[in-house]
Amino acid sequence: MGVGPSTKETTLHHFRDPLLKVLSEDTDIDFQGVVLAGIPQDNVNKLFTGERIGYWIEAMRSDGVIVSADSWGNSDIDFANTVEMIGKRGIPVVGLSFCGVSGQFVVTNPYMDTIVDINKNPEGIETDVVGENSLSELDAKKAKALLKLKMRK
């Protein structure tokens, strides 16, 4: 699971992941699969992981990418860097992350122009309530719709 309880993705969440459902059921796209990557502790590794994802996505000849993270704070470094490494290759990219009020991005870049905020709490805070701010099917559909618009350009 992630940094705070409300954004935590449990084993059950991964098993029934709305993002996978939404992407694999769409006959209008060729869903390639899931690139699973960790959020390491060390800053050097954080940047290195994002760079490797960039090369990997390029080698896959992807036309579009959705990047999802279930945590925030220092994980934004991994998230922002991964989005940048994909975006700077000219590949349309959409992100999903918890922002709300307390989870605003600590780092950002020009490629983060289409981010779906998975916050559900009215105050926009990490509530310690498991499931509350976790990614829903609606979030997944929003991300897919944004990506389709971006890929159309």
Partner: protein, 254 residues
Amino acid sequence: MRRLTIQSFHFTNVSFGESFELRKLTDTPEKTYEMILPSDANPYLEDMDVIDSITMRIIRPGEHHVHNESIMDVFPISAKVLGKLGEGTSRTITGIYGMITGVDTEGTPVCAFGNSDGMLDEQMVLGCAGTPNEEDYILCFDAVLKAKEGFKRTGPNAVHHVVDAYCQNIRELLKKFHAGDCTETQTFEDVIRPGKKKVALVKLVSGQGAMYDTRFLANEPSGFEGGHSVIDITGFPVMLSPNEYRDGAIRAMY
């Protein structure tokens, strides 16, 4: 290849008894089952000297106003019947989901940024992708680690190992059912659609250390044993097929 069948067995009751037993309750209008389980996970502790104790509870539907320590994970109980993860046939239990809570003997919760201890109905939103529904049973494993063991990888790893070893007994029984006895069957194909826009999903998951870890591709769906840690591979990207991912390739450690 590229075809995965998931057979679900729906359980409408679970209780503690002498030994592991899965019994059919009804045939119509749908096949339902009940589960009887020993209430003691301690035989699986083995040499897990970082664990002080693991006790078990059954939380029934509508009885969510109970206290729990910080929630480490919620997981489905699934078993591989044929083939490897991502292909062949898997079986999964619906109606009962596993949950792990963690604390150490000094009262420190096993969590990172914020802990979810408190009354369960106030600390968990039911009916999300990652949480049980209102009408589901929760099989809860309450782990107490020795002092400060929650800060190291060995503590949470040991808890997941014990819980997984316990659940393996349920999986072995699940594997023995006839295929025709399942409540529902779903078949998933990894389809390649030439000419369509190619889309990839990047999932960034926990991997910073201690309980902040994610395991992937274990021996059993959504299992722990045989899985690889993202910390061990320094977070490096790994490619998973859609069917591998939906077959329970990931075990979230906390």
